[in-house]
Symmetry: none
Subunit: 522 residues, 2 copies
């Protein structure tokens, strides 16, 4: 019998308090549908009392038919010395018309007396009145005990009194919050166990990551006996973020054999995590456990060798379980067997001990020493291999070009490129304007080549990145340019390095075009 | 009596196995000096057997006089069926000439039989021979028990035998490694306690973050009794990274009252973390516990209100303890008081409610919306303030310029800039060659200006950074250029944003020169 842990997602509420995060109503609707599809149990969708944008959102939400999740609106207990049905925030909370509400209240005596500045007894009344009122309105009530762990450490009996106040007024869940995120895993487990010994209710956990332990704390709370975990996708949230559900769910399901999501949903986790990071307009963290682009990326030579023999050797779980995949990175530490995999894609007859393999590794090391890096630029590396194996033909020659940039910039296109190329003895001279020298050169080169290779019309650049490698020589520093191109179906990455940013861009650009032409001819 | 936990940094070795990380020898020397200044106990500086670049580095390292840290070279036990003094990797390890070596060996029977494909007994001999040989060469030996936790779970008695083999051969430390990063905090603590009951040696912990719990696991191991913690700065490392020392150290020192760094060093942690991310060319993670830019950034209205009354209400520690600082986000009130500090440096008469303050905040918001960021570019922001207050005088006019870049690049200087400037009605027309368009323009502008302002001879650029802000439009994407300049005594940062990299560089360059001239005239 697999035990179920209830997953309570707060990406749209607590997650939205993260720096740099601001969801539109359209984003929120898409995220709600995605979370429901993934199969979380609760979606805490907003705080209608504090954020007027959320009221519109809750209206629009009614159009969505959710399959799995219960919608939840979040708000505070009534204010001190105000009747519950005269409290504006409480009224906003009701106007969200969700089946479930989360009510947070104070558990820490210091917060009662010094922050909201009322009496300990009035705080208990605020909890009782609000929970009772919401139950009277037929809501499921999740009572969030804010700062519970700090409160319990300061004054355990008062902290427990606040939980009893909520419970006796009808709360369906009690959630213990580590609001400031500074509690340690052993403390969490010990306190959770004590609370479970003292009160009789379904209990949840809500952790923040200020000590870097929100995930571990949530897991320890589950081991200690809680049955609901609150968190956010990708750990978004104020300061250092909330407990990351993308890490917690696979740990609970794979390591501890709990059920969190519906059967089969776990392998959708990586896609859901990346989808939400796109909508949040936050770069997806490549080192994120389970779902990150680097989570199963092997670089050390011995690691790659081990994983090739048996993936279990250097992977704690099979990446497919969470919808992620294994990658071998190309680098000087990655060793011969990785390089060989790439070589054999061009010529399967080459072996680990072929002279060509040694030559290509030597060339790889030389290029890396110059500042090249072929991670994400595997197409440039394939061209290195093709040149070394004599499987490369120059498809065009550039005899010369000039790029002229002028002040003032303000008239739109501020640079002009003139380029002369040769293809099979035929010359093409052309010119193009662009937004700066790199852009002008990019446009001119493709304009000239399209005369001979119309398939290049399909190609476009989707990403252009610049890294300064050695900053001590300032504007004469070496730069690495990384370009990602697509023909609408496939995409490929190339790289160029030079002290001249135009030259570095040029190298990556030419590689990108040559790679596409070779692939179309193969 | 405060208990000391030994801090073992592997940023330069295990950290360098992180995707996207590739340190130059110059970077490594700077990082070594920074780590030593911070006061870590061990610096694992490289793996001379697997990476030839590291041999040069260890030679150069001898020039540094370290105050605190012991340099350590990392390598494997001898290979199977090879005599230890005939093993090339062992010889490389010795050639590093470090006082201390870390030797890793296999603890997991599956790895012995299936990955390195030898017998369990030969593996024990490999451990014994290697440790004994290194002790014979007068090295301090840290024995890293790779995959110890997985090994212990699979075959506890063999796992312990490998530790005994190292210990009986003279190992000074035994480090228990969670190499695949999948062990849970309660397992770590339980196994650490059992090991401490079975062997008598100083014990260390080395965790990876694949389950998102490397920090918690390290802390639990310390609670369980280990006295050395291995990790990397910012958690750099293969896949999901290593245990992050920037999170572990403050947890141990502030929460658990251990001593990790020399007295007073903890407040250098944020600066060290960011310095190393700059050299690693990795964006510093703003949500990083303790040291992140957002770690003490408050956004929710109730949080800001609480922190204003008492910081303890929503902060688990005072940010100053780790050299970080509190920020209030998107709050007119808090925004104004921060900006006011900068304004009053230019004109102390301006108050919070002055019209100028409102105007400057509006301009700041407009510029930030365009992609400007003034952190580290306070000089550009000072110029914004001076313009708004009428405390700015244009010291030169650029009537126009042209920059011409030519193929081929190979003849050294590959771009020419022509520039015409006016100072007090006097024209100066000049030209300069440079390494690419940005460098040519930089040299030409300063050459022209030095005729009028000889003090510019003292100025030089020390840093030049390019960030692509919006990658979806490829080579026409918006870029932010950040320049750091010095006159030999002070240094200052400026910033420019444009879709044209040359224009963005130009804006930052002109700001930098204007700032220096204004300061010399003040």
């Amino acid at each position: 019998m697999v035990k179920k842990i209830c997953i309570y997602d707060s990406t749209l509420r607590d997650g939205a308090q993260g720096e740099g995060i601001s969801f539109t109503v359209a984003d929120k609707l898409k995220i709600t549908a995605k979370l429901d599809g993934l199969g979380v149990d609760y979606i805490e969708a907003g705080n209608p009392g504090s954020n007027p944008k959320d009221i519109e959102f809750f209206q629009r939400l009614k159009e969505l038919k959710l399959k799995n999740a219960k919608l939840t609106a979040f708000g505070s207990t009534r204010r001190a010395n105000v009747e519950v049905d005269k409290d504006a925030n409480i009224m906003s909370l009701l106007s969200a018309e969700t089946p479930s509400v989360a009510i947070f209240g104070k558990s820490w005596d210091f917060h009662v007396t010094d922050i909201i500045r009322t009496t300990l007894e009035e705080n208990l009344c605020m909890i009782r009145d609000t929970v009772r009122y919401m139950k009277h309105k037929d809501k499921e009530v999740i009572y969030d005990a804010e700062h519970f762990f700090d409160g319990y450490k300061a004054n355990p009996s008062y902290a427990i009194d606040t939980l009893e106040a909520a419970l006796q007024s009808g709360a369906d869940w009690i959630t213990l919050c580590d609001t400031n995120g500074g509690t340690l895993p052993n403390e969490i487990r010990d306190i959770v166990k004590k609370v479970i010994g003292e009160i009789n209710a379904p209990i949840g956990i809500h952790c923040h990551n200020d000590g870097g332990m929100a995930v571990a704390n949530s897991i320890m709370a589950v081991i200690g006996g809680v049955t609901q975990v609150q968190g956010t996708m990708n750990g978004y949230g104020e300061r250092c973020g909330n407990a990351d559900l993308c890490t917690i769910i696979p740990n609970l399901e794979i390591k501890l054999k709990y059920r969190c999501l519906p059967e089969g949903a776990l392998k959708e986790l990586t896609a859901a995590s990346r989808f939400i990071s796109e909508l949040a307009n936050m770069t997806h963290y490549s080192g994120a456990p389970f779902v990150g682009h680097s989570a199963f990326a092997h670089k050390g030579g011995m690691h790659i060798d081990g994983v090739s023999k048996n993936p279990h050797s250097f992977e704690h779980i099979p990446p497919e379980l969470v919808g992620n995949s294994r990658r071998f990175l190309m680098s000087e530490v990655s060793g011969r067997s990785t390089v060989l995999t790439s070589i054999q894609k061009v010529d399967p007859a080459i072996t680990k001990d072929s002279e060509e393999t040694y030559n290509i590794i030597a060339e790889l090391k030389r290029l890396e020493h110059e500042g090249y890096q072929f991670e994400g630029a595997e197409s440039s590396f394939e061209l290195v291999i093709r040149r070394a194996l004599g499987r490369y033909k120059k498809l065009f020659e550039v005899s010369d070009f000039k790029v002229i940039s002028d002040e003032p910039w303000s008239n739109g296109n501020s640079a002009t490129a003139i380029i002369k190329i040769w293809v099979n003895g035929v010359q093409e001279l052309t010119a193009s304007e662009g937004d700066g020298p790199v852009n002008a050169l990019d446009i001119a080169l493709r304009k000239a080549l399209t005369v001979f290779y119309p398939q290049l019309n399909k190609m476009r650049l989707v990403d252009y990145k610049v890294r300064v490698l050695d900053t001590t020589t300032a504007t004469a520093a070496k730069v690495r340019v990384h370009i990602e191109s697509t023909d609408g179906e496939r995409s490929w990455g190339t790289v160029g390095v030079s002290t001249n940013i135009l030259e570095a861009s040029w190298i990556a650009l030419v590689d990108s075009i040559e790679y596409m032409l070779i692939k179309y001819m193969d």
